[in-house]
């Protein structure tokens, strides 16, 4: 092979210019999308931080028009509703994901579940709320945290299912064969070897689903409904951060506006924290194949 030097020609200069322009456009696009994110975060931060005080974290709402009070019940409510959503959706979602990856694979039922799951991802959350209203609120005769948890659980379900499936499918078959060759029953191979191998990935998927669900407002409007008082009973209406923010934001009171911003700040911080934990876990997957 003979060595040769690059001689810049006109053609080369033109390609270089085109490349520079294309790069510029892409950097701009990336900058805009990141910029939008930072604008929202910054705005929420600036507006929210001033309203943030101890009362917000420790007190329940005051009657309309009265200054003071806080969102303690909404913070706890969001926590309860999300936990309920997890309790309802994780067994089904993780179970379905395991079925898709380990048993159904390319079978007809598996294809069907995958299709339904994708459809469910696309259903607007307000429709899911309406569904929960119909199957839980109407028969029970009143709003409840349980119905809210159910609605959020349905929203989480397809994400959890597909994340579980994806992560299990990344476990190579050589691991399954090694486990089978030790004389493990199929269910032990799945639950004791394959699932632990994919655990961090599955957890990441679950946390991202949680982060998304925790900020949902529409499906809670006619399920958990909201509650200005302390309530820990899941069969009763319950406050939640997104609901409280919504109600306060559309109210005519300045102090409630201030609290809405502070609540938004809390909610964003919460979602961000969960997402960051999810990303760190996802990156730290010790599985090296």
């Amino acid at each position: 092979m003979t060595s040769h030097r690059y001689v810049p020609t006109g053609n080369y200069r033109r390609r270089k210019a085109t490349s520079l322009i294309a790069q510029g456009v892409m950097v701009l696009a990336a900058g805009l999308s990141v910029g939008a994110l930072f604008a929202v975060l910054g705005f929420v931060f600036v507006q929210g931080i001033s309203g943030l005080d101890l009362n917000l974290l420790t007190q329940t709402p005051k009657p309309p028009g009265e200054a003071g009070g806080g969102m303690a019940n909404a913070i706890v409510g969001t926590f309860i509703v999300v936990v309920l959503a997890c309790v309802l959706s994780l067994p089904v979602g993780v179970g379905a994901g395991i079925y898709l990856a380990e048993y159904g694979r390319t079978g007809l039922l598996a294809q069907l579940i995958r299709f339904m799951s994708d459809v469910l991802t696309g259903v607007p959350s307000v429709v899911v709320g309406l569904f929960a209203y119909t199957v839980l609120v109407l028969p029970l005769g009143h709003f409840s945290a349980l119905a809210g948890g159910f609605a959020l659980g349905v929203i989480m379900l397809p994400t959890v299912t597909r994340a579980t499936e994806e992560m299990l499918r990344q476990v190579p078959d050589s691991i399954r064969e090694a486990a089978l060759a030790l004389g493990f029953e199929q269910w032990k191979v799945t639950l004791r070897v394959v699932l632990p191998t994919a655990f961090n990935g599955v957890l990441t998927g679950i946390l991202l689903a949680v982060a998304r669900a925790a900020g949902e407002t529409a499906p809670l409007l006619f399920t958990a409904f909201g509650n200005p008082f302390w309530n820990l009973d899941p069969t009763q209406p319950m406050a939640a951060l997104p609901l409280q923010i919504f109600v306060y934001a559309i109210s005519p009171y300045d102090d409630w506006h201030r609290q809405a911003w502070a609540g938004a700040f809390l909610l964003v911080a919460l979602v961000l924290a969960v997402s960051v934990v999810a990303r760190i876990l996802g990156r730290r997957t010790p599985a090296r194949f």
């Binding site: 694979r105 691991i175 064969e177 090694a178 060759a181 004389g183 004791r192 070897v193």
Partner: protein, 267 residues
């Protein structure tokens, strides 16, 4: 359910293959294999790539059938019992016939210790202090203990390739099999690790019946007592061409195809 422990040496088992044929879907991979694997000896399986060596050993622990569409005909007698008889649980067969694969495949999220412990633990063989002892014994048996005794809590994948492969051998030994199948266990390893594993196999053979697939004829000559030579015919279905004591097969093959292969004229 307490199984036998490694302390009571298991009499090496006999393995007899009778009229074995295997398919992947419609494609036949093995035809009418007959083979008597001698207890307590090392049997090497050699032959060119694609002749069905892996398929054959995977039929010996009923791992072949986990491939979708794969199927087997014929009999494999483990101490006289057909492992393909109706009603025989493949899980039980696999506990008695251990396997080590071509590429070291320790469980990636488990520590060195856990990799070895999980077999006896999930199979209900040992627990607590007894389990710890069994793990140590298995690691010693696999000639790995001295190298990992300070690394028991590191991930299994943090070891070198040769160490990982011996970890896989320790893992297989920990569930106390009677037969050990090794499918090209040293292909991915350097010469020194290879020799270590060959030494190890020689030491293990008094207690375990060993079948080793190898591409490397020197290896077959070095470690095995018996050698089976396989070849795929024009229809690409693998058959057993010749089987006999290693020395005889390498110095005085009966079949001209064996001679052609060991003298490097094809394959």
């Amino acid at each position: 359910m307490a199984g036998p422990s490694l302390q009571t040496p298991v009499r090496p088992a006999s393995l007899r293959v009778e009229g074995l044929s295997a398919w992947y879907g419609r494609r036949q991979a093995l035809r009418n294999i007959n083979l008597e694997i001698v207890p307590g000896q090392i049997t090497a399986v050699i032959g060119p790539s694609g002749c069905g060596k892996s398929t054959l050993v995977r039929c010996l622990n009923r791992l072949h059938e986990v491939v979708p569409g794969a199927r087997v005909e014929g009999r494999v007698l483990l101490n006289g019992e057909d492992i393909y008889a109706p009603g025989v649980d493949p899980v039980v067969v696999r506990r008695r016939v251990g396997m080590v694969f071509q590429r070291p495949n320790p469980f990636p999220t488990m520590s060195v210790f856990e990799n070895v412990a999980i077999g006896p633990r999930l199979n209900g063989l040992a627990r607590g202090a007894e389990l710890e002892e069994l793990v140590v014994r298995s690691l010693k048996l696999a000639a790995l203990w001295d190298e990992v005794k300070d690394k028991l809590h590191l991930p299994g994948t943090a070891l070198s390739g040769g160490q990982q492969q011996r970890l896989c051998i320790a893992r297989a030994l920990a569930v106390n099999p009677e037969v050990l199948l090794l499918d090209e266990p040293t292909t991915a390893l350097d010469p020194i690790s290879t020799l270590k594993i060959e030494d190890l196999l020689r030491q293990l053979k008094t207690e375990y019946t060993i079948v080793i697939v190898t591409h490397n004829m020197q290896q077959a000559a070095r470690v095995s007592d018996f050698t089976a030579f396989m070849l795929a015919g024009d229809d690409l279905v693998g058959e057993l061409v010749e089987f006999g004591p290693t020395r005889q097969l390498f110095t005085n093959p009966r079949d001209p195809r064996t001679e052609a292969y060991i003298t490097g004229r094809f394959g």
